[in-house]
Amino acid sequence: MSTLVLLLATGLGLGGLYFLVASGLSLIYGLMGVLNFAHGSFLTLGAFVGLAAGNLVGAGTWGGLLLGLLVGALTGAAAATATELGLIRPLYNRHIEQVLVTVGLSLATVALFEGIWGPNPRNVTRTDWLASTTDVLGAHVPNTAFLNVLAAAAVLAGIVAFLRYTRYGLIIRAGVENRAMVTALGIDVRQAFTLVFAVGGAAAGLGGVLATQSLNYVSPHMGASLLIFAFIVTVIGGMGSLTGAAVASVVVAVLQQLANFYLNNTGDLIVVLLLALVLLVRPSGLMGRPA
């Protein structure tokens, strides 16, 4: 019983982590059609810079963590904005090339990070509370699981509100379909797209710092290794559907935990199977618009 509780709770926490990584990816992908392979790099950069800032206040303190989250988000946003302005915008309307540019960027940046911070993971000092567990029905649930779920919920609510209650949301959705026409309505659509990238990057940076708390390390490869699940979650959830991504994150993570534990470490295979299945039955994903 307590094992099952532990599996579910940690699965939920893992789902939160997946969503934190996927949210920005899904936002950019869903709205701009750019499958951003460099998302992992935004995340890694946010994590490194955020942690460094946090350490100035004090490693393992709440103040340090908060500052780290803020700086991480800002770093991610700045990196994403620069990417959009410098690399994506010049390739206006060439979607495949936009994807390719992000592929190139991710290759280059991971190598650069390795050059700067070395290839090896570095350990992270967490606050005492985050390093300990809470008893839930007899299971020692790591407190990072709670943090992830909370943060994921906050990010989800924040982004959805941004899209639903701001005029930018509308502009962006229209601009994805027909950029020239939005311009012809007198709207400077470029700013809106830059903003999307910035928000996506901020989510990545935030996710990066939070991920270091549960992974317990920061490394040049952490972004890339989380990215594949973010991709899967984005597609299963349905392109551009953040709630879909959220649901998919939880489903994927819990399923993965259960399969790993009870089905002889087949978590990854089961997730792949799930992806194939979902796409075959519902090509647009769980919550995507039917094509």
């Binding site: 307590s2 094992t3 599996l7 350990n123 390093a131 790591p142 390390y217 790993n260 990854d268």
Partner: protein
């Protein structure tokens, strides 16, 4: 121009009586294991210095050592090996990654050149072919060293490892070594890519083992130890693992004090004269001694010995190395003639907190013979 049929090594007309000898080191200068590569290289340079008495010449032959980066990629390593062999190199060394070392051993056999592998711990390398040697320890030695922490007879041993070749290899080794000594071995294997393994830590706890042997590598190490600690495994039982390089000391966090470490090497562990020489040389050259520094040093010692005995003749060099016993940095070291296993002492260690950093302390030296692997059939 038509190509000469035989391979030539360019520019050897400096009138010396003996031609220079080429030694090609293919190793991870970059890539994920660049840190291991660096330690290896520093050790190797110190070893050449030591073994040639600072002359860089062996029996009148000048040593021409070239270093090649494989970035941890077998494809690049094979290309480089072929290039070197094609250029007439008869001696290759290096590699820290098991996935690279095996194809290179294959090349050594196909082309009949001497190959002294680096730190890669994979057991299958032992006895793989006549031309391949190793300069480090192998997993079976780690496991045997772990066995010295408990009395294996009747003990319940759980292997906690990643579900990959490394983890499975360790499990097999434990089953072979400690199982052979009467231990009841079971395992908890975790998917390689998993980032969340708290439930597995609980599974380990529930197994109520006398000893838990942890074989883990990679970025998730820190989280794994936290998980074990959080679920209370470290407080309940003896947990043994291999102590890695300096960079990993921090990964254990506060769990460090609760773990018993077996160890291949840490600076200062051996206390021998050769070690002191090695440490001095490495530090003088601006390097930092680490886990795999002796592997490089020993490789140099072996290669120099091989050249001394059989320069220019691969078969003679192989013969010279088989059964060779010498004073390595870790103490007396022997190349077992039958399968080229490298018999050497191992250590028991613990980590102690020294201000903000963790430093290893020697608990015990384990005699090389007592942890020698079973002979592999060639």
């Amino acid at each position: 121009a038509c190509a000469p049929t035989g391979a030539t090594t360019g520019g050897s007309g400096d009138g010396e009586s003996a031609a220079p000898i080429d030694v090609g080191i293919v190793y991870s200068e970059s890539g994920p294991l660049a840190a291991y590569g660096a330690a290896y290289k520093q050790g190797f340079e110190a070893g050449i210095d030591h073994a040639t008495g600072g002359t860089g010449t062996v029996a009148g032959h000048e040593l021409n050592v070239t270093y090649h980066d494989d970035a941890g990629d077998p494809e690049k390593a094979v290309s480089q090996a072929k290039d070197l062999i094609g250029k007439g190199y008869q001696i290759l060394g290096g590699t820290v990654v098991s996935g690279v070392t095996l194809p290179l051993a294959e090349q050594a056999e196909q082309n009949k050149v001497l190959y002294v592998s680096g730190p890669a711990a994979v057991d299958t390398l032992t006895g793989i072919n006549r031309y391949t040697f190793r300069s480090g320890r192998q997993s079976l030695q780690d496991v045997a060293a772990a066995g010295t922490f408990v009395d294996p007879q009747g003990a319940k041993v759980v292997v906690f490892a990643q579900d990959n070749a490394f983890g499975q290899g360790n499990l097999a080794a434990v089953e072979g070594v400690l199982g052979g000594q009467g231990a009841e071995v079971s395992s908890v294997l975790v998917p390689e890519d998993a980032t969340e393994f708290t439930p597995f830590a609980k599974k380990v706890l529930d197994a109520q083992a006398d000893m838990v042997f942890v074989a883990w590598a990679g970025a998730t190490t820190g989280a794994m130890w936290q998980g074990l600690d959080q679920q209370g495994v470290l407080d309940e039982t003896t947990v043994v693992t291999g102590l890695g390089d300096v960079a990993t000391y921090g990964a254990y966090g506060d769990a460090a004090e609760k773990v018993s470490f077996l160890n291949h090497y840490f600076p200062g562990a051996a206390g021998t004269d050769t070690e002191a020489a090695m440490l001095d040389a490495v530090e003088a050259a601006g390097g930092t001694p680490d886990l795999f520094t002796p592997d490089g040093f020993v490789a140099a010692q072996m290669i120099v010995h091989a050249i001394e005995e059989g320069a220019g003749d691969v078969e003679a060099m192989v013969d010279a190395l088989e059964g060779y016993t010498f004073e390595g940095p870790k103490g007396e070291t022997t190349v077992r003639a039958s399968d080229h296993a490298l018999i050497q002492p191992m250590y028991q260690a613990k980590l102690v907190k020294d201000g903000d950093v963790w430093t290893p302390e020697l608990v015990d030296v384990i005699d090389g013979a007592s942890v020698a692997p079973a002979e592999a059939a060639e």
